[in-house]
């Protein structure tokens, strides 16, 4: 349990003063003297009170099971295995981002004769806003949580006796550097200038603090496989989760995938057999075979990975795509790229 306020005495009047970590200046409540903290000031630490009961956390997880392309019998068949609360530390700060991004956007216009003209629209965009940074400050295993979505709640360390707490394992300096570059990146995204010719962005960060955030971890099983959810202990919303995909949807995808794969590669082979002399035909045949194989591979991948619906900031996912449907999109993109090469 972190000691929040350090008991010290006012050097002027001897009165007891309590110093909050991360604080640089304070005023003595007895003699009004301005006091200055020398040396390592530490980091301001905040903890939010757990507001969500175990029952509400389970209800939130079960509500989440019903949404999207998750197994339709999940609500009936899913079995809660364990539910426990944890405190996770996050680095948190705000930074003002100020600057300008200039450049242009290109727009293509086609006339009735099919001629295309590219219009260049110059852009100058001011960036001036405050960026809120947060990043998990420990490694609690892959819970699908990296950043904070909520920054307010009742502040209290009372639950620290009851709830297991993860130690902070990353350094303040690393977090501060990360905050700076994320703030700059965010400013650039806000400006949204497609082709940049001039860019100056300035970041003024505030003090870094640590927020201990209460989270419920819900582990459950479905047909002998384990899945999980995390539920925000302040707002009660589901933060992340893994769930089985819908078997019907899956089997449809597998059937169509295999069928299409089989037909395309079969046709490819047939073509190859009948057009040995024709080189173009041979290319097409090989192409067909490759596409068919890819379709089969895609189906296999969907069966293996797409059978799970994943939501949240998991490390095995790119970005934070909302559902496992991202996987399907990726496969179809790969296919269309290959397809483009073998028209």
């Amino acid at each position: 349990m972190p000691d929040l306020s350090i008991g010290l005495n006012c050097p002027a009047c001897g009165g007891a003063v309590s110093v909050q970590e991360g604080e640089g200046v304070l005023n003595c409540q007895y003699c009004d003297s301005t006091l200055f903290i020398e040396g390592d000031k530490g980091v301001q630490t905040i903890a939010f009170k757990m507001k969500v009961t175990k029952e509400s956390a389970i209800a939130a997880a079960q509500g989440w099971w019903k949404k999207g392309f998750k197994a339709r019998d999940l609500k009936r068949t899913g079995k809660i295995i364990e539910v426990y609360p944890i405190y996770i530390p996050f680095w948190s700060t705000t930074a003002r981002v100020a600057g300008w991004v200039c450049g242009y956007e290109e727009r293509r216009h086609s006339d009735s004769k099919g001629n295309t003209r590219v219009e260049r629209i110059p852009k100058e965009v001011m960036v001036l806003s405050d960026y809120r940074y947060s990043e998990i400050a420990c490694d609690p295993g892959d819970l699908g949580i990296r950043t904070l979505r909520n920054f307010s709640g009742e502040r209290s360390f009372a639950d620290f006796e009851m709830i297991p707490t993860f130690e902070t394992t990353t350094s303040k300096d690393v977090a501060a550097k990360d905050a700076r570059s994320k703030a700059e990146e965010w400013g650039r995204e806000q400006a949204n200038v497609p082709h940049v010719t001039f860019e100056r962005l300035y970041v003024v960060p505030h003090n870094m603090s640590i927020i201990y955030y209460p989270i419920w971890v819900v582990r459950y099983s479905y047909r002998e496989r384990m899945y999980m959810n995390t539920v925000d202990g302040v707002t009660g919303t589901v933060l992340s989760g893994r769930a089985p995909g819908d078997p019907l949807f899956q089997s449809l995808a597998i059937t169509f995938g295999s069928a299409a794969g089989g037909i395309v590669s079969g046709a490819g082979l047939l073509l190859a057999a009948f057009s040995e002399a024709d080189q173009n035909g041979a290319y097409f045949a090989v192409g067909g075979f490759v596409i068919g194989g890819l379709l089969l591979f895609g189906t296999y991948r969907f069966f293996r990975r797409g059978s799970e619906i994943v939501e949240g900031e998991f490390s095995d996912k790119e970005g934070s795509a909302k559902t496992g449907l991202g996987d399907i999109k990726q496969i179809s993109q790969t296919l269309s790229q290959i397809g483009g090469r073998y028209p």
């Binding site: 350090i6 010290l8 005495n9 006012c10 050097p11 002027a12 003063v17 110093v19 640089g24 200046v25 304070l26 005023n27 009004d32 003297s33 301005t34 006091l35 200055f36 903290i37 020398e38 040396g39 390592d40 000031k41 530490g42 003002r96 100020a98 600057g99 300008w100 200039c102 450049g103 242009y104 110059p122 852009k123 100058e124 001011m126 001036l128 806003s129 405050d130 010719t197 001039f198 100056r200 300035y202 003024v204």
Partner: protein
């Protein structure tokens, strides 16, 4: 970690302030110092209120006033014409000169920050100086001099970009020759802060 009593580096008088402020003002000898690694006395000015400024609404707002040399080496603007060259730079022959850049040093929302910075840098206020606050409350300084020097870049680019035409490129140099804390007299009004000179 060690707690020490803040005393004036000039007269050793203990500092007593009601607010958390980066600048320590000595009531006794009117010295302002900062503690950013070392103990450094800094230059400052306090602007006097106009005689007709209502007493109740008076407040001092801290700024970092940076006296800078600003030179535009190259600039590209789409549309807007040639007068986009910096005609506001004092003594400048169109491409450069010396300017006072005012950077609000207290915690303002982005819109107020920009409004005050552009307003004062465009038209530097004239005021009579005084050495005390005459019991008028003041906003705490939360921005360091170094941070203000960064924000000065934002101010000059904004002034160039907001002229007619669309800025496409700006190559310039900005050197800070002098930085001082300037407390300007303001009045709180329903429209926000207005100068009380």
């Amino acid at each position: 970690m060690k707690v020490i009593q803040v005393k004036c580096p000039h007269c050793n008088n203990p500092i007593k302030m009601k607010q958390k402020d980066l600048l320590f003002y000595c009531d006794s000898c009117k010295t302002i110092h900062v503690r950013d690694g070392g103990i450094n006395v800094i230059d400052y000015e306090i602007g006097d209120f106009g005689r007709n400024a209502p007493q109740g609404d008076r407040i001092y707002v801290p700024f970092w006033r940076l006296y800078c040399s600003f030179t535009i080496k190259n600039m590209k603007v789409e549309g807007g014409g040639l007068f986009k060259l910096s005609n506001w730079v004092k003594g400048g022959a169109g491409t450069g000169g010396d300017i006072f850049i005012f950077v609000p040093a207290s915690d303002f929302d982005p819109a107020t920050f920009k409004r005050l910075a552009i307003m004062l840098t465009t038209l530097p206020p004239r005021y009579n100086s005084r050495t005390d606050f005459n019991n008028v409350p003041r906003l705490p300084t939360t921005m360091s001099r170094e941070e203000a020097a960064q924000m000065a870049h934002f101010v000059v680019i904004t002034m160039e970009a907001e002229k007619p035409g669309t800025l496409q490129d700006l190559d310039y140099t900005l050197n800070v020759n002098d930085a001082r804390a300037v407390y300007l007299p303001f009045l709180t009004s329903p429209q926000g802060l207005v100068l009380g000179i």
